[in-house]
């Protein structure tokens, strides 16, 4: 499939830049948190400078104003070159940007957007221990006292909150009426007194997420986005900020990483094992199909087409393929994979298949679990009825 000429030119440009600038050894230099953070900051800085970090921002920003088709080209090339994923700046450039751009005051935009390009990082304070799939059930309370909100509560699963400067925070300002109606959206300084961050020890040894404890944290009312009690709508803008680029990027990365499975097959001399060849062939097809649907999702968006549920299909098929990919590696690798190997922070293709397998759960659980996506597909694409109201014992 050939792109239009201007896209071809962009693709060549990006390739040339990556050939010259992409860090080849980033896996080895991201084994500790400190190294990871440094590698991430360096790489983000380079991309900002080259004009590829924020293609989706308005043209007023250097490197912004790119069409979705252009964004797709950039992400495809980043994936194919197996560069570091932009993990540390992702919430800043997508979630914080979209929220500020679409819902915040001009004053707020002018204060925060430029700082993101200078490397200020954001995290998202949405999920809580009792509010995962059911996000609207958040309990973190904010009480207004004059010009400030006093916030108490706890957030979990906040990506890289331990390194963040600012937080997109959902709080409850009222318990009356429907759950959604009492939610307010605040921008919180992570250095504020009363904020404690505790990294979550993940089962594969990573610490990609953190808990945030809020103990009488004071947030100026001027840091509110939208009106009090209207935070749920703002949160939708945050959540909708990234539609398909990440999954396309990750699908292409998985396709690239199939060479690791091929390596295992050769290392274990399975080249003539017809069962293994069939299973590998099946996986290759599955991954190709996920790349195709992630691609199609973006092409449709470029053409202004997006149906409710499309994103859920892309997510579930990606996570299913990622599970299959890591399970085949785990199986072919045999007992060797049971030994702990050094992993790379936040990497989905570490080369240690146990780690990759465990990582794959992040995709079936986080960001709307597989089960929640199935509900969306059934109810909103197939028009099936919702669950009955809860039965009260």
């Amino acid at each position: 499939m050939t792109d239009k000429p201007d896209l071809d030119a962009l693709r060549s440009e990006v390739r040339a830049f990556l050939a010259a600038e992409a860090p080849a050894d980033w896996r080895d230099t991201s084994r500790t948190q400190e190294d990871f953070v440094r590698t991430q900051r360096d790489w983000f800085g380079k991309l900002v400078k080259a004009g590829y970090a924020i293609p989706h921002w308005p043209a007023a920003f250097p490197g912004g104003g790119r069409s979705l088709a252009e964004q797709k080209v950039i992400y495809e090339e980043l994936a194919k070159a197996d560069c570091p994923r932009l993990l540390l700046s992702f919430v800043s450039t997508y979630h914080a940007f979209a929220t500020l751009h679409e819902c915040a005051s001009t004053e707020q935009q002018e204060r925060y957007l430029p700082r993101i390009l200078e490397g200020e990082t954001w995290c998202q304070g949405f999920s809580e221990p009792g509010a995962g799939s059911d996000l609207a059930a958040i309990k973190t309370r904010a009480e207004r006292k004059g010009d400030i909100y006093v916030v108490n509560g706890q957030k979990v699963w906040s990506t890289m909150a331990q390194f963040a400067d600012k937080c997109l925070l959902l709080v409850r300002t009222s318990s009356d009426g429907p759950k959604q109606a009492g939610i307010t959206y605040l921008l919180m300084d992570m250095q504020a007194p009363g904020v404690t961050v505790r990294p979550i020890h993940q089962i594969q040894g990573d610490e990609e997420f953190a808990e945030i404890f809020l103990d009488n944290v004071e947030i100026p009312v001027s840091e509110r986005v939208g009106e009090e009690g209207k935070g749920w709508a703002v949160a939708q803008a945050t959540l909708a900020s990234e539609r398909g680029l990440t999954l396309m990027e990750l699908s292409y990365r998985m396709r690239g990483a199939l060479s690791r499975v091929a390596e295992l097959i050769r290392d274990h001399e399975h080249e003539e094992d017809r069962g293994v060849l069939r299973d590998f062939g099946h996986l290759v097809t599955q991954v190709d199909a996920v790349c195709a649907i992630a691609d199609q999702f973006l092409d449709n968006r470029i053409n202004g087409i997006e149906r409710v549920g499309d994103a859920s299909i892309v997510k579930n098929s990606y996570s299913r393929a990622l599970r299959a990919y890591s399970k085949l590696g785990l199986r072919l690798g045999g007992v060797d994979e049971q030994y702990i190997a050094p992993i790379t922070f936040g990497d989905l293709n570490t080369g240690n298949w146990m780690a990759d397998f465990m990582n794959s759960y992040a995709w079936t659980i986080a960001g709307g679990s597989e089960e929640v996506q199935r509900n969306i597909i059934a109810e909103r694409m197939l028009d099936m009825p919702r669950e009955p109201k809860a039965w009260v014992a």
Binding site: I265, F280, I313, L382, R386
Partner: protein, 336 residues
């Protein structure tokens, strides 16, 4: 894109979803009239000159209604004749474009040549040979048109579970191949095979996914209507989630199909992979559909079983998933 929508609309009008497996002979007249036999034939040869997307869209709609017309083998037979340098080529092209039927048979036939050069053996599994003027089959000397009314040629139907289609054994007994009807020589046979195998896979994949969509629609509709324990069974989450997975798999296989259709450079394994996934998904969807229909799905009176039987046959056509998954794996291993 507008062309595709028009084709699809026309197909849905000519073959409405309510009438599954409409009569073969009427359907054949209809597809001939609508120009579907010549959809891929270049305009200068009297065809519509449309591309793969167009034929794929048609095969998709034919799958949706479990069509009884052998449109894929017919189109491929015509393409094989067109690609040949046979003397009588234009006459045959005209005949076939006008509604004569010469199905391409891609599988190698079990034929033996006697000392006098005559052939005996069976060309097994030919679609609708009873209505064929000839079969395009691979003889020891290359692809050839084998007229079914020639001396030494007989045709025997072998009943299959999939009642929407008919398979025949074309039996040769001392058949003398007519040199004027050779389409390729032995060396040219494999190039022709590869080109047309790609087309066959994509056509079949479209057939699978059109039918899988229809089977899913029927199932979802049934689940909303069927009540047990005082509610529609579509309200039971365990069943809803299964429907969601069916939808997901169909959508993913469709994306792979269309990316294959648009990639003219893709190797035969790529189109075979698209067909394999499509056929596996079609089978999965129909297996789930039977279960979700419950008892009624096990009766002949409800149509859902017809989808399942077509799915099981499609799995085997043009090479089984076992065969192609292995080849895809082998090729991917060689490349990575």
């Amino acid at each position: 894109m507008i062309e595709l929508n028009e084709l699809t609309d026309a197909a849905q009008k000519a073959f409405p979803a309510e009438a599954l497996s409409p009569g073969r002979d009427d359907s054949w007249r209809l597809v001939t009239e609508m120009g579907w036999l010549i959809v891929r034939l270049p305009e200068d040869a009297g065809g519509l000159g449309l591309g793969r997307e167009a034929s794929t869209a048609i095969h998709f709609e034919m799958g949706r209604v479990l069509a009884t017309t052998p449109l894929i083998p017919a189109q491929l037979g015509l393409q094989a004749v067109l690609a040949s340098s046979m003397a009588g080529r234009s006459e045959w092209v005209e005949r076939l474009a006008g509604g004569a039927y010469a199905p391409l048979h891609l599988l190698p036939a079990a034929l033996e040549a006697a000392g006098d050069g005559t052939l005996s053996g069976t060309i097994g599994g030919v679609f609708d040979a009873d209505m064929a003027a000839a079969v395009v089959a691979k003889l020891p000397g290359g692809y050839a048109l084998v007229p079914v009314n020639a001396a030494g040629v007989t045709v025997h139907e072998r009943p299959i579970w999939d009642a929407s289609r008919r398979l025949f054994d074309v039996v040769l007994d001392g058949y003398e191949a007519d040199p004027a009807l050779m389409l390729t020589d032995a060396a040219g046979a494999s190039a022709l095979h590869d080109t047309l195998a790609c087309e066959a896979h994509l056509g079949l994949a479209a057939d699978c996914l059109g039918a899988a969509n229809a089977a899913l629609d029927l199932t979802v509709e049934y689940m909303k209507m069927r009540r047990q324990f005082d509610r529609p069974i579509a309200m039971f989450q365990a069943l809803k989630h299964r429907a969601a997975d069916m939808k997901t798999q169909v959508a993913v296989a469709e994306a792979l199909l269309w990316s294959g259709v648009r990639d003219a450079q893709a190797p035969v394994t790529a189109s075979a992979a698209a067909k394999t996934l499509a056929a596996e998904v079609f089978a999965f969807v129909t297996e789930e559909a039977i279960q979700l229909h419950g008892g009624i799905g096990l009766t002949e009176e409800h149509p859902i079983h017809r989808f399942m039987k077509r799915a099981m046959l499609n799995l085997q056509l043009c090479g089984s998933p076992d065969l192609w998954n292995e080849r895809v794996g082998r090729e991917a291993l060689a490349l990575r």
